[in-house]
Chain length 231, copies 2
DNA sequence: CACGAAAAAATTTGATCATATTCTGGGCGA
DNA sequence: TCGCCCAGAATATGATCAAATTTTTTCGTG
């Protein structure tokens, strides 16, 4: 019988906690989505095992998932990094986003409830406050949450899933946009969208979403073109 | 010095071979895409380590990737299985496929070359032969290849990537369709598409693709509805 | 004598495996 | 029928091996 207790009786294990690889995935995903990792930044397994304090296998699994999501790219040799969007990539993302997300908005509007509108209003208020204080991370999170909550109402799991993947692709670039233009000048078609939702008008909601997507992605495109000609 | 050579000098290592987890991923992917696994069928790690002769870690990574692709589903408890499409899922897939794949066809038509047409004609001939002989697996592979080759010409990597993910979702169900209707009655708009490509008409190509997608997915939908009311 | 390129050693990182631990689900007995 | 136990499967760790990059060393040339 060993006298040393193994890591303090293995921690209390507070109820059903998600597996480690899931926790690692969520953490990395948030870091990518909310701009804590810059486009082009290399991602190493061993670096993450250290910074996240997790084992090697869970980290590997999380990285594979994120590569499949398009949130990370495998660079041929064994390196993995945060993707750098090309203008051509951005153009395609605009097309797919407008198609899928405006349809999601249309469907969400068909199932709109007062509770949904209240929730979206709260998120939008937090978003405005983040813009006012220049809180880039807060802005990105609120913006993402606004879209996610809306799409959850569309009762279209497959399409919402695809929309999520789209966001993972341009997430890191959105941070760059904020760094370039500041939070003041960011587009905000959320007010139009809320009006359309209150009116129960699916077509107007879809149109507002298409506008929101187009404006946001145009800024991404502008930054990417700027970077392209700089090099 | 140990007299026993370590596993026969570690095998010849024939040039640059892909890592094991990549091989496992490709094999599993093909099995799912071409209907070797039935919807609902459970997938176990240990079962795959045995049948594929690979270690446990590569198999885990491949499964994670496929879950992220939507080609497998994680069932909450630690079970993984081939997904069963609901009619609602199929309806959403139809919408997204028509949107993305017809656009890919349009763009491919803008970059059409004689070599592409020749390649597609060859694939379509093989497809017809598979239909004639009732070779379901051959039909599925040719059909997939036709679309993949066409999309590669569109010079739109992001959209082609999304299209690939869509195929992974309904692949298993396509096999069921073939089992239900036989290969004789499957839709084939490839002839129209080839005509439009020869004419260099992007709009007609996109339209033919939309028709092809719609017809194919309608059959999937029919089988799913049939199964739904049976239960 | 100094500078640069190529080769080689060393370090860092990724891939795989064997093994220990934990959890889920079904069977058995009360 | 309900609860407990056990078999089996999944999760997670650390060790080990292989590959790639980086650094260092060496050699040749201006």
């Amino acid at each position: 019988m060993n006298l040393i207790k193994k890591t303090a009786q293995k921690a209390p294990k507070s109820a059903a906690d998600p597996p480690v690889h899931e926790q690692v995935y969520q953490k990395l995903r948030a870091q990518i989505l909310f701009g804590e990792m810059a486009p082009g930044q290399p991602v190493t397994i061993q670096g993450l095992t250290d910074s996240l304090g997790a084992g090697m296998t869970p980290v590997r699994e999380a990285i594979r998932r994120l590569i499949s999501d398009g949130a990370l790219v495998f660079q041929g040799n064994r390196r993995v990094s945060v993707p750098v969007l090309s203008p051509a990539d951005a153009e395609q993302l605009i097309f797919v986003r407008k198609s899928i997300e405006s349809e999601l908005a249309r469907r969400a509007a068909r199932h709109v409830t007062p509770a949904l509108i209240a929730e979206l209003e709260a998120i939008d208020a937090a978003l405005d406050s983040a813009i006012a204080t220049g809180d880039v991370s807060g802005y990105l999170q609120c913006n993402y949450q606004f879209h996610t909550v809306l799409y959850a109402q569309a009762q279209a799991a497959v399409m919402a899933d695809f929309a999520d993947r789209l966001w993972l692709r341009f997430g890191p670039s959105l941070r760059v946009v904020c760094g370039r233009f500041g939070t003041q000048n960011l587009p905000d078609r959320h007010k139009d969208m809320l009006d359309a939702l209150r009116a129960g008008d699916p077509e107007a909601t879809a149109e507002a979403m298409a506008q929101d997507v187009e404006q946001g992605m145009d800024m991404v495109d502008a930054v990417l073109s700027e970077q392209a000609e700089k090099s």
